[in-house]
């Protein structure tokens, strides 16, 4: 810290030090000065010499002052309030003040510990703001509940549908279907993952019955039991077998509806996975047919304002205002008039009958540039109604590490994001799905059709990966897999939710029905007849509410300023201290160390001297003798006869030369100090 100090200044500084420090500090000062500027080299070397000399003197003569003197000096001169009292009061009060000072020091240390711990816990405080401002209108994703037009995919699903119908017939009327089961069915699909009935009437011996009764248990047995099976105790199950058919598991269902639905969607997944995506897009609903009318604020829009994205569950989805290529559209006013108004045609007649049983539009509001996970977070809008959605943007902005465990862009998450092809921002949903797909590829060697595919991998299908269904079913039910994924994925620091207030009304009204349908039919099909019906059209209004944002922002609850002011407050409160007091204390500690070093050197020297005296084997001189020897120069001990073989004391030569004043203990010690002090004073001037 003293590195760049001018030597002259250094001396002035040193001059301010307590007197016993002067020579001992010389060593330290000397080193620094040696590293000083070259222009002062000569003077510096002189000073260094002087300091080293003083240092040597000090080391030879022992410390100028004792620990006690140091303490008293410190107590009297420190700026903290307690110590001063200790030395300037009477004995009783002294003890009291000593205890008080100790107590306060302990309190300060404890409180400091508390504050530092609080600071290191990285707490956050939040600020909440609610109001209306011009904001980017949320991205709106709309999908039809049915992924494909049935008329376009009929050729793909022909075998499966026939099989499904046969299954339904078997379930609903077993005797009848036996008679006319003459249709040629694609048995390869069936044999891969058949549906079975499990007869649990005898709980110890559940009987497994194939629905078509061909390969299991013989015909006679099954037909008899199936009849009774409808009534009670029969479960439907899906048999999932691994490659060679040795390892089979049954996925049980409590109702036939679920069993056939799950079975059908599994088979359909298998079929669609083999079709290239371009063809799938063409089989789904095109934008110009789905979006009949569009109005944003006062401006008209059409299907070209929507970005198309293929979502395996729902086919073609259309995203309004995604902000990928052009700037996001803002909305500056609350209310229906300034929001998005859509009229959509869902074409309910052309739904794939077994794949989806729900009719409507699936829609979702999300942030710009984020991938819509519409199956999880989407809502339905019903046909034949007008659905009004008031939006409140609920934003949570977090600080990130070390305050809250979240990630800004997902770069530190150890899961490869398969959704990065869409150029979307990180979200935990994307991470979880990527993680699942990763596991799927790892254990089943193929990717699931519903999630995006990493490069070089293939979607699962029965032909190439015969036991994928078994593998997938295991993985889907596995709790361990989900928990690893949850453990690995981190949430995003900026969490935006769109709080929706949904209300519905019948649309079109009976009075307006006629002309609205006429106009829409004319526009879509150029026909004068009504080609639309109430079951097929949906009206949507999406708009900002009167208060359109609620932002919760995190900020550090305890910053460095807070910590310092509290530390200062505590120290000041109990002891009236400041940072300078700490420096004072540190200074005293350094002095202590120096005194100790000097003492140790002196001790070592005296030890060496004593060793040199070890040759003297006579009895030690008595106190009286020693006193006499020091005060009376003519005195000679009369012990010579008792130790004839030894001469005079070896240190007799060290006795002071006669004529010098008698040594005075205190002044002896103090005098050289004064001499040195005056020396240094002279130098400094």
């Amino acid at each position: 810290m003293l590195l760049h100090i001018n030597p002259a200044c250094l001396f002035k500084l040193l001059h301010g030090f307590p007197p016993w420090i002067m020579p001992t500090d010389g060593n330290l000062g000397g080193k620094n000065v040696q590293m000083g500027k070259p222009g002062h080299r000569e003077g510096a070397t002189m000073h260094v010499k002087k300091y080293l000399l003083k240092c040597l003197h000090r080391l030879q003569k022992g410390p100028g002052y004792t620990y006690k003197e140091l303490l008293v000096w410190y107590c009297n001169n420190t700026n903290t309030h307690g110590p001063k009292r200790i030395i300037c009061e009477g004995p009783k009060k002294k003890a009291m003040w000593f205890l008080l000072t100790l107590l306060f020091t302990a309190l300060v240390c404890w409180q400091w510990g508390n504050f530092i711990r609080t600071y290191l816990s990285w707490e956050v405080s939040i600020s909440l703001s609610v109001g209306f401002k011009t904001m980017d209108f949320p991205a709106v994703t709309i999908c039809n509940a049915s992924p494909f037009k049935y008329s376009k995919v009929k050729h793909l699903l022909k075998d499966l549908d026939e099989l499904m119908e046969a299954v339904l017939e078997r379930i609903l009327a077993p005797e009848l279907s036996h008679a006319n089961a003459t249709r040629t069915l694609n048995s390869s699909i069936w044999n891969h993952t058949p549906l079975v009935l499990i007869d649990e009437r005898n709980p110890h011996h559940p009987v497994i019955l194939d629905l078509f009764g061909d390969n299991h248990n013989g015909l006679t047995n099954s037909s008899a039991s199936e009849k009774i099976c409808n009534a009670h105790g029969c479960k439907m199950a899906m048999r999932l077998c691994s490659l060679n058919g040795t390892q089979c598991t049954f996925r049980n269902f409590t109702s036939a509806t679920q069993a056939v639905t799950e079975w059908y969607s599994l088979q359909a997944t298998n079929i669609f996975a083999q079709v290239p995506q371009q063809e799938l897009v063409e089989m789904s609903y095109p934008g110009e047919q789905m979006i009949l009318a569009c109005l944003f604020g006062a401006e008209p829009c059409n299907y070209r304002n929507f970005t198309s994205i293929f979502y395996p569950h729902y086919g073609n989805c259309y995203i309004f205002n995604w902000g990928m290529t052009e700037k996001a559209l803002p909305s500056a006013n609350p209310g229906t008039e300034f929001g998005l108004k859509l009229i959509l045609d869902i074409g309910q007649e052309d739904y794939v009958p077994f794949l989806t049983s729900t009719a409507g539009v699936r829609l979702m509001l999300h942030e710009q540039r984020s991938y819509p996970f519409i199956r999880d977070e989407g809502i339905y809008a019903m046909s034949g109604t007008e659905t009004s959605i008031g939006v409140l943007v609920d934003k949570l902005q977090r600080m990130g590490e070390p305050y809250s465990p979240c990630t800004v862009n997902g770069s530190e998450v150890p899961v490869q994001n398969f959704y990065s092809d869409y150029n979307t921002t990180y979200s935990i949903q994307a991470c979880l799905r990527s993680c699942f797909q990763d596991h799927m590829i790892h254990s089943c060697k193929c990717g699931h059709y519903l999630y995006p595919l990493p490069r070089g991998e293939k979607y699962c299908n029965n032909r190439d990966f015969p036991d994928w269904a078994h593998c997938y079913s295991d993985l889907q039910m596995s709790v361990a897999q989900r928990e690893t994924c949850i453990g690995m994925c981190k949430e995003s620091c900026n969490d935006t939710q769109y709080k929706m207030t949904i209300s519905m009304a019948d649309w079109p009204s009976e009075a307006s029905e006629d002309w609205i349908f006429h106009v829409l039919s004319q526009e879509r099909d150029q026909s004068t007849n009504i080609t639309l019906s109430r079951k097929g059209i949906v009206k949507l209004n999406i708009y900002f509410q009167e208060f359109n944002y609620r932002t919760i922002e995190e900020s550090a609850a305890n910053n460095l300023v807070w910590l310092l002011s509290n530390l200062g407050g505590q120290f000041g409160f109990w002891m009236g201290g400041s940072v300078l007091c700490l420096i004072e204390f540190g200074e005293i500690i350094i002095d202590f160390v120096w005194i100790t070093i000097i003492n140790l050197v002196a001790l070592a020297k005296s030890l060496r001297q004593r060793r040199a005296q070890a040759s003297y084997s006579g009895p030690p001189p008595t106190v009286a003798e020693l006193v006499e020897a020091h005060t009376n120069f003519g005195f000679q001990p009369d012990t010579a006869p008792r130790s004839p073989n030894t001469g005079p004391y070896p240190n007799e030569q060290a006795l002071p030369i006669p004529g010098t004043p008698p040594p005075n203990y205190d002044s002896l010690r103090l005098q050289p100090l004064d001499v040195i002090e005056s020396d240094s004073e002279g130098d400094a001037i």
């Binding site: 049915s146 109702s255 739904y351 407050g569 109990w574």
Partner: protein, 649 residues
């Protein structure tokens, strides 16, 4: 003499008068001001000139006042809270889901109990509004013919009346058609909210036991009047039916639930526990911890939530009790009581209702930060529900307890307190009047329930986003309904219609859980360090200074006064002993030390202590200048060693 002690002795010698030894209060004050660690006081003494001194007195006092004011503010704002919102993404416990049919009992099963009431209601409708008998569903029964020879049981007890606005105090009994005089208060149920413009209003009269005190309740619409009237009688009748019988009359779990699917796994009626609600019949709770495990979801989205298809048999609906069709869903905590009639989402038939949930947890700090209760143990209301405390439970319990106190019987819609019965005509003929009075008092907060009950400190809240879609779709209807019929075939023998079914999806939209937590904004450390900051800022003061102040102003101050008084008393006593005393009384300085000449100089250490001059100063008449400032400056270096040397030589 050790050098340390010597220095100390020196310091001691050089120090001015110490506190308690100071002879006068002025001296003490002066000593305090010069030696205190606070900054203002010293300036007062050191400053020269009256104006400056006054200014410094003013500053010091202002600083003291500011400190006191700021510290008071700090103390008063000690019990404030800071709120933090945390978001966790993790596996979430699925809430308990209670599903009820809106209609409590199968009408075919309860009809024999309610036959008389139904007939009278129909008769009342006919005579009040005169509409012809055109019920399609139940017109096979010729109930009007039965009515001929029957005594009106219900109308006699609580007559339905038509009031004419122009004839105050007169009303027409619908059954007899006679006009009768109505006295007592007339309470318009709806009059607070809106004007009644029709000339005729319908209501009924309730009287207390001695029938002298009557109150008449009127409604703006006959629909409300008849429903209320019906409900009162209905509660009367059902209160007498034992619980097992009621459970049997209501829907079974197998009947209500056609299919059930949770987190990708099939479930069935065994996963639901029965919960009988007096007004809603059998309700079924999913995930009610019946086998000690709470189900949880580790994925968001509808396929990982609960999917049920409900069978709602509209034919079994009670026509007067309920006027809407569907089911009610309540999402609640496992240990919470589902208040079916108060909260809950209604779901429609032939629709899929998809309910997306967001979980928000709130934790509040209890006393002294806010008036909330952790577990309700400090609320003086006995919890009659078998569930964890909530504000609603407290209010209902409070009302029910008051009801048992005032009316002697318990209201049918809420659980029974111990040693109480539900109200019915046979035992408590006039309970209705009592109930209505009490209910009015409760609503107007006259019972004190609202002030006694506190809100719970921590609660979970599920924010729901509900959306509807058509289900089944036109094309899937053809195959779906037969399969569902096959599924349900065990319970019913009829082909299902799509208006008999409702599909319900309940799921977590995402697994983000928001926790809103209150934490104390101030801790005792913070308070102390704020005190320290204030004291330090204005006066550079610390606790040590406070102790000093106590020492000086409360101990030394009084000890000086006491010493003075004691001396005075002693002098007075001495004078009394020796009354003739020619000399003027000596000043204390002069008495003890005749060598000291009293001049106008400031008192020095020695003079103040009444000590003889120090031994070292042997030169008479040349006392060294002993100004404090002078002395303190050179306390250590040269002066010290000089005197030392002088002594030694």
């Amino acid at each position: 003499m050790a050098p340390g002690e010597k220095i100390k002795a020196k310091i001691k010698k050089n120090l001015p008068v110490t506190g308690p030894q100071a002879p006068t209060i002025k001296e003490l004050m002066r000593w305090y001001c010069l030696n205190t660690n606070t900054h203002g006081c010293r300036r007062i003494v050191v400053s020269r000139g009256r104006l400056r001194r006054l200014l410094w007195i003013g500053f010091t006092l202002t600083a003291v006042a500011l400190i006191l004011w700021q510290c008071a503010l700090l103390v008063f704002s000690f019990y404030t809270v800071s709120v933090s919102i945390k978001v966790h993404f993790r596996k979430l416990d699925f809430p308990a889901v209670t599903i009820c049919n809106i209609n409590p009992y199968k009408y075919s099963a309860v009809r024999h109990l309610l036959a008389d009431l139904e007939q009278e209601t129909r008769e009342a409708l006919k005579s009040l509004y005169g509409f012809p008998e055109s019920r399609k569903r139940r017109d096979a029964e010729s109930w009007s013919s039965v009515l001929e020879g029957m005594q009106p049981r219900f109308s006699h007890r609580i007559p339905l009346l038509i009031f004419d606005q122009y004839e105050k105090g007169k009303a027409r009994d619908f059954f007899t058609g006679r006009k009768r005089k109505v006295d007592g208060r007339i309470i318009h149920k709806a009059s607070n909210v809106m004007h009644i413009e029709s000339k005729q209003v319908v209501g009924f009269q309730l009287c207390s036991n001695d029938t002298s005190d009557c109150a008449t309740y009127t409604f703006s619409s006959g629909i409300n009047a008849i429903q209320e009237w019906y409900k009162l009688h209905y509660m009367n009748i059902m209160a007498q039916v034992p619980l097992e019988k009621k459970i049997n009359m209501s829907y079974s779990a197998e009947e209500l639930l056609v299919t059930c699917f949770f987190d990708g796994v099939s479930c069935d009626a065994r996963n639901f526990t029965l919960f009988h609600h007096p007004m809603h019949g059998n309700c079924y709770t999913f995930n009610n911890r019946e086998n000690e495990t709470i189900l949880s979801t580790s994925m968001g989205g509808s396929e990982y939530g609960l999917q049920v298809i409900l069978y709602i048999n509209e034919e079994e609906y009670n026509p007067f009790l309920v006027s809407s069709t569907g089911a009610k869903v309540i999402i609640h905590r496992q240990d919470e009581y589902p208040f079916v009639e108060d909260v809950g989402t209604e779901i429609e038939t032939a629709m899929v209702t998809s309910i997306g949930m967001h979980l928000t947890e709130s934790f509040k700090l209890s006393e002294p930060y806010s008036q909330c209760t952790e577990d309700g143990s400090d609320v003086p209301i006995r919890n009659i529900y078998n569930a964890a405390y909530s504000l609603q439970i407290c209010l209902h319990s409070c009302f029910q307890t008051k009801m048992v106190e005032k009316c002697g019987c318990a209201q049918y819609g809420q659980p029974l307190p111990p040693e109480a019965n539900y109200c019915n005509y046979q035992q408590h003929p006039n309970w209705m009047y009592c109930y209505y009075q009490l209910h009015r008092a409760f609503v107007q907060e006259e019972l004190g329930c609202q002030s006694v009950c506190k809100e719970a400190c921590s609660f979970k809240e599920w924010t729901l986003t509900t959306s509807l879609a058509q289900w089944p779709s036109v094309v899937s209807e053809k195959w779906l309904l037969p399969v569902l019929t096959w599924d349900q075939g065990r319970q019913i023998n009829k082909k299902l219609n799509k208006t008999d079914l409702a599909k319900l999806l309940i799921f977590y939209k995402d697994l983000n859980q928001r926790s809103i937590m209150e934490s104390p904004a101030n801790s005792i450390e913070m308070l102390l360090s704020n005190f320290g900051g204030q004291l330090g800022l204005w006066m550079s003061c610390s606790v040590v200074c406070v102790i000093e102040i106590i020492e000086v102003f409360f101990i030394d101050f009084f000890s000086i006064i006491a010493r003075r008084q004691w001396q005075k008393a002693k002098e007075w006593w001495a004078r009394k002993q020796a009354p003739p005393c020619p000399e003027a009384p000596h000043s204390p300085q002069g008495q003890d030390n005749p060598a000291l000449d009293i001049d106008n100089d400031l008192p020095t250490f020695n003079s103040a202590l009444h000590l003889p001059p120090a031994l070292g100063t042997q030169v008479p008449g040349t006392p060294p200048p002993k100004y404090n400032t002078l002395r303190l400056e050179r306390a250590f270096s040269n002066q010290l060693t000089d005197t030392q040397m002088l002594d030694e030589l």
